[in-house]
Subunit: 304 residues, 2 copies
């Protein structure tokens, strides 16, 4: 598979493949997601199982000039819709679970339920985004933008593995992972740099998904070969990172939001760690990014 370097190439890949992934949307009467879903259905790679009150879902579609007939509406009360949608996924009647007009807390509670949820015991849940930037020559995967506030070593290793698995789905084998700090110096004053030294070695020893991991590195050394040359730093990432792993949620979240606002970025993001893809989108994302999130969930649900 040729590496996918743009988000539209991901969409093309899914169209060419011609498989339809079944997306179960919890409380689907959601103006925030309904347009993205309609586009995914029209593009031919998704089937939308809209779970919730039928008349509300139809009205929400019509308000956006979308014919509700393109959706598969499952008429369930609002109170039951999230649990019902989760059950569809759990029973292999759907491939992807997606949040609609339901609070994030309630939705994630259903996802994380020990008995009926989608997270295996002791698994780490995290979030990975693939970002397309006009000024970078390929996609940039970043983690964790949304879930883990202050990841410890075990959680960081999970973040690394998830992001490598995602990059693999984009046809990127052995991706270059930059473990991001404020500089390239390992120092006890930056506890994350200690984790990074261990993770670099773990990757080298084959204790992680296959990748070239190195850190700490700052963003310049991660993504700009010229900075590597000027500073003369010995790093296998060499300014050509596929993946940036951040030390905290606050760091990753502000980084990606800066690039969305000021770098002309578009993104596709997804929860990782669950047995099947789970889509939770922010209302603030662009319509394009929302569509890409749905497409990404279909890509990640492929059996390669």
């Amino acid at each position: 598979m040729k590496p996918i370097k743009k988000l539209d190439q991901m969409v093309e890949h899914l169209k060419n493949k011609g498989e339809k992934k079944r997306i179960a949307v919890a409380n689907a009467q959601d103006s925030n997601t309904i347009g993205a879903l309609a586009n995914a259905v029209k593009a031919g790679f998704a089937e939308a199982l809209m779970v919730g009150p039928k008349n509300e879902i139809e009205n929400a579609a019509k308000e956006q000039n979308i014919n509700p007939d393109i959706f598969n509406i499952i008429d369930v009360s609002n109170d039951e819709a999230t649990i019902y949608a989760r059950k569809l996924v759990k029973n292999d009647e759907a491939d992807v679970l997606m949040k609609g007009l339901v609070g994030t807390d309630k939705f994630l509670k259903a996802v994380l339920d020990k008995k009926e949820g989608l997270l295996p015991p002791r698994a780490v849940m995290s979030y990975v985004c693939a970002i397309e930037l006009p000024k970078y020559h390929k996609l940039l995967f970043v983690t964790d933008t949304a879930v883990l506030p202050f990841p410890d070593l075990k959680q960081k290793v999970a973040m690394l593995n998830y992001s490598v698995q995602m990059a693999n789905k984009f046809g990127i084998e052995n991706p270059k992972v930059a473990l991001i700090g404020a500089s390239e110096k390992v120092s006890e004053g930056f506890p994350n740099s200690i984790d990074y030294a261990m993770m670099s070695k773990m990757a080298q020893r084959g204790q992680t998904e296959p990748c070239i991991a190195d850190g700490p590195l700052d963003v310049f050394l991660a993504c700009d070969p010229e900075s590597v040359r000027i500073k003369g730093v010995d790093t296998p990432v060499a300014g050509d990172a596929d993946i940036l792993l951040f030390p905290t949620l606050e760091a990753c979240n502000s980084f990606y939001k800066g690039l969305m606002l000021f770098g002309g970025g578009e993104l596709a993001g997804l929860i990782q760690g669950t047995t099947k893809p789970v889509v939770v989108m922010s209302r603030s994302e662009s319509a394009k990014s929302k569509f890409y999130c749905v497409a990404l969930s279909c890509l990640m649900s492929e059996n390669n």
Copy 2:
């Protein structure tokens, strides 16, 4: 004074003012800084006191096709140059201290020396950058990009005050300060959000430099009015921030470097907290940003 919205307007302001600030450069035979200094001298707002071995300084200038006669060379051995340059500033024979070809550790040791240094007792040293972005309608001040790894409340308050003072020098009165987190939610799970709640209230009570401070806010709510409208968050910053204050060095450093690489940013940055401006530039910055750093030191040394 009309607010300065572009870094070139800062340069114009200095040219129009017509004052020459005296910049003492420690170990000035530095190809990294000599071009920026020459441009500042030619623009008419700086006088360069180049401290170091005369022949080395002349050679470094000539290598870059710069006539060394535009500089004031003070022939001192490499071992003594940093201390000598600091003394010039300490004795009011220079207005600005600048790092040349000397290790950052050695240079900062001289700056921080308890008896002969430039940092008042118990003062907090920090770093503030003014960033110009094609996609933002004014300058964006960010702190701390370079000095404080994990600022506590007292240090965050100092960062806030320094950045407000810098914004004031750009003609921005009562600047809007966004205290950056991953979301707008105050939560004990994010200790920085506790500091932010206190700082918002401190600013309201007049316990800080005059400003409109609010946080936690994510980058979207800080800089994008549309996100504020969509999310319906009540914030006086309202997507129109002048200043972004970050919870950690790792967060701020990766944010600004992302914008430099992918957002077409240029910057002017300076150490804050010292009795006189101190310039330490990264080799990785663009030639333009280096020039702006020198100009900023002259602006901050103005007596308004």
